[in-house]
């Protein structure tokens, strides 16, 4: 597996593991909170239920207290509006909005909540009829055009003789609904055929459930109390947090993977580029100098410090390789005694010049041989012979141009290749060289040394052998003509 894939895979695995752990944690938290939330709502629902029951109980208690009062009994019998008012107003509270005393004919004797409003007929009211017929009514009914929770009870003198009805009522309004849900996060809605009330503007309740109230069927149809939540705000926040976490961590994962991808690409590209240089070198697409220049170029570009160090190391290594290569090349192409190019190098050069001549250039060659060198060796020994070879080589080297190539062809024979030089030019150079050696005094060889020169120039269609043969023939002629002379091809 590629390094890129390995790193990417491992990193993604780690991120996915973190992501999964995060999901597990947030999901656990969500479930814990949801359980607590549901529990809280259940408790709140019970609380509202209890409050509602307390309201009903309060109505019943108030009615019972008033019914047990002898003065109230007397007040109803004697139509003592004032006394009934004074009694009932004492019991008006946030839990009791209306207290009415009604006689058996259904005429209101007194209203606790309105001192001067009485004497009207309520005999047709459902709650009055129910109380007169069945002794008690507890339910929802219209009282003075307001929908109320009503507890109505027949009032009896001496506990036997019915004398009227007392109704104690609580108006079903926003205040009542608000008092039921006060301090909770729940909302309550009341719905009937006449009106719909709610503690929230948003009429729709979530997870709504009806209040379990033991109310008698009244004249108000479809009356019901529903409690619920307008919004699962707390849970929504948690859900939102969970979603945000998921989205966030998902995005983070994508961004991290992309970032990692690009970072890896960037870093690996540098390494890959360096590796490619080495591959190109290995596959001979680049020589060592091109390798060095490419690496040097790379170190100048924006590159990571790590890659830069590697590039520098590679550059230094290439430098060493190049040096070694140069040394080997020099060794393989140089005659050790004279430090001139050896025969292999000369052949390469000649091949090269012949190739160049195909593109229009020209050259001449000079085949050189030390006259009677065998005699020198035989007479003075090989050391002196070598001495003569070394110094004649040096003298010849000093006589040529930098573009010329002088090499030891073998034994006491030398070859001089003269690029862009005509036959005449070559003859001049050969002559100068001959003269210089002839007049040179060797330190350890007491006699004059002479050399013979055979010059040939390039002809179209030449091969190395053909041009060498012509030069060699010229040299032969120079030797045969008395040595220490320059001769040229015919």
């Amino acid at each position: 597996m590629k390094l890129y894939n390995k790193i990417l895979f491992l990193t993604i695995m780690q991120l996915v593991a973190i992501f999964l752990f995060g999901i597990y944690q947030i999901q656990s938290l969500y479930l814990t909170q949801k359980t607590a939330f549901d529990q809280k709502n259940l408790i709140q629902s019970d609380m509202i239920q209890k409050r509602f029951e307390e309201k009903l109980e309060s109505l019943q208690k108030t009615a019972q207290i008033l019914i047990n009062s002898q003065e109230v009994i007397t007040g109803i019998i004697s139509n003592d509006t004032d006394m009934l008012y004074n009694w009932s107003k004492l019991f008006l509270s946030s839990s009791t909005d209306k207290i009415h005393f009604v006689d058996l004919q259904g005429t209101v004797i007194s209203r606790g909540e309105s001192e001067f409003r009485f004497a009207d007929d309520v005999s047709k009211r459902f709650y009055v009829q129910q109380a007169l017929q069945n002794d008690t009514f507890i339910g929802i009914d219209l009282i003075d055009d307001e929908e109320c929770l009503v507890y109505a009870k027949r009032v009896k003198q001496y506990g036997q003789k019915p004398i009227g009805v007392i109704s104690v009522a609580l108006i079903i309004d926003d205040a009542l609904l608000a008092s039921l849900v006060q301090g909770t996060t729940m909302n309550i809605a009341y719905h009937s055929e006449h009106q719909t009330l709610s503690t929230t503007k948003d009429q729709k309740l979530i997870n709504a459930s009806s209040l379990h109230v033991m109310l008698q069927a009244g004249s108000i149809k479809e009356a019901s109390f529903n409690i619920g939540l307008t919004s699962e705000e707390e849970l929504s926040a948690l859900k939102e947090a969970r979603t945000n976490f998921f989205v966030g961590i998902g995005l983070a994962l994508i961004i991290l993977v992309l970032a990692l991808h690009f970072i890896l690409l960037k870093h690996l590209r540098e390494y890959k580029a360096l590796a490619q240089v080495l591959i190109d070198f290995y596959e001979d697409r680049l020589d060592i100098k091109e390798v060095m220049s490419t690496i040097k170029q790379a170190t100048k570009e924006r590159i990571t410090p790590e890659a830069k160090k590697i590039a520098e190391a590679l550059f230094n290594m290439s430098q060493k390789v190049a040096d070694t290569q140069n040394a080997l090349e020099l060794l393989s192409s140089t005659d050790q005694l004279t430090s001139l190019s050896n025969r292999r190098k000369l052949e390469e050069c000649l091949e090269q010049k012949l190739k160049e001549s195909e593109r229009g250039s020209f050259f001449s060659i000079v085949m050189i041989d030390i006259d009677r060198f065998k005699t020198i060796n035989d007479t003075y020994g090989h050391e002196i012979g070598d001495h003569v070879l070394i110094h004649t080589a040096r003298l010849m080297r000093e006589s040529i141009r930098t573009s010329d190539m002088l090499g030891r062809w073998g034994g006491e024979e030398f070859l001089l290749i003269l690029p862009q030089t005509s036959l005449e030019g070559a003859l001049i150079i050969a002559e100068q060289m001959r003269s210089k050696i002839h007049h040179f005094s060797f330190e350890h060889y007491p006699q004059r040394v002479t050399m013979s020169f055979g010059v040939s120039t390039h002809h179209v269609g030449d091969t190395p052998n053909s041009i060498l043969r012509r030069a060699d023939n010229a040299l032969y002629r120079a030797k045969n003509s008395g040595r220490n002379r320059v001769d040229h091809e015919d």
Partner: protein, 286 residues
């Protein structure tokens, strides 16, 4: 020297004759207000008579009645009903004067009246036309809010408990007005003062269906243990209270009564009230 001695003896004899009288009244208002209202009158009587008048506010009528009967008070301020009842019970009780008041009609009278009124918009023009309507008294203890209206009904041969659809008791006169204004009732019994106040407050929105005989105002009586001559002297002093006397101002300031002093009437002035005691008692208690 002899002259000085004679003068000293005269003064000594006068101071020995000065008496301390107890003046009792009923709790028609909070005791502190009653004390503040009646104190200037006590001061006036003390100053004018040379005697000392001590004010007593009894717990209720019953106590006042008992104390008059047992003669532990010398003078008393009693309302009409109590005067009639006490007089029947204690014949020796001596009538002195009757309280005078500026009536809302602008006169100074020792009496007031009871009206049976209806709302004009109820289109009831006579008492007979009120049949089947809702009616309200103040309460059964009220002179002008129950007793005298009952005399009116008797004169018209009306049993209000059957004549009207329903009869209510509202305790106070102005509550009858408020109930009329709220159209809870169509007819009600009130005092003339309440009527004139309502006229000022609400305008001419009421029809007077019937008017009672004059209802004597409260009386000041003397116990039989006060000598006749002495009681006549005190009655004379009460009759001569100037209109701008501090006592009249104190009544208005503390009780809201537009007092005009006292006038001596005949005991028979209160006989009309005796009729109320003979009015048929239509019990509503069943």
């Amino acid at each position: 020297m002899l002259l000085k001695l004679a003068l000293f003896c005269l003064l000594l004899s006068a101071s020995l004759d000065a008496k301390e009288y107890t003046f009792a009244t009923y709790p028609s208002n909070t005791p502190s207000k009653i004390i503040q209202a009646l104190t200037p009158l006590m001061e006036y009587l003390s100053a004018q008579s040379g005697d000392t008048f001590k004010l007593v506010v009894t717990k209720d009528y019953e106590e006042l009645s008992e104390r008059i009967e047992e003669k532990s008070v010398d003078f008393a301020w009693v309302n009409t009903k109590n005067f009639v009842l006490l007089k029947e019970k204690i014949p020796s009780l001596r009538y002195l004067v009757t309280y005078l008041e500026h009536s809302k009609s602008g006169q100074i009278t020792p009496y007031y009246q009871s009206f049976i009124v209806a709302m004009k918009d109820a289109n009831i023009t006579s008492l007979e036309g009120a049949q089947g309507k809702h009616f309200a008294f103040t309460d059964k203890e009220s002179t002008s809010g129950y007793a005298y209206p009952m005399i009116i009904f008797e004169a018209h041969h009306i049993n209000p408990y059957t004549f009207f659809q329903k009869v209510f008791f509202l305790k106070k006169h102005d509550k009858v007005i408020e109930a009329l204004m709220n159209h809870s009732i169509e007819v009600g019994a009130i005092s003339d003062g309440t009527y004139y106040n309502a006229l000022e407050k609400y305008g001419d929105r009421f029809t007077i269906l019937a008017t009672s005989e004059p209802i004597p105002l409260d009386a000041i009586v003397a116990s039989s243990n006060v000598p006749l001559k002495e009681s006549q002297r005190i009655a004379h002093l009460l009759e001569n209270i100037p209109l701008d006397a501090p006592s009249n101002k104190a009544f208005e300031e503390h009780l809201g009564w537009e007092s005009a002093g006292f006038v001596k009437k005949d005991e028979h002035f209160y006989d009309s009230f005796k009729k109320t005691l003979k009015v048929p008692l239509y019990e509503t208690l069943q």
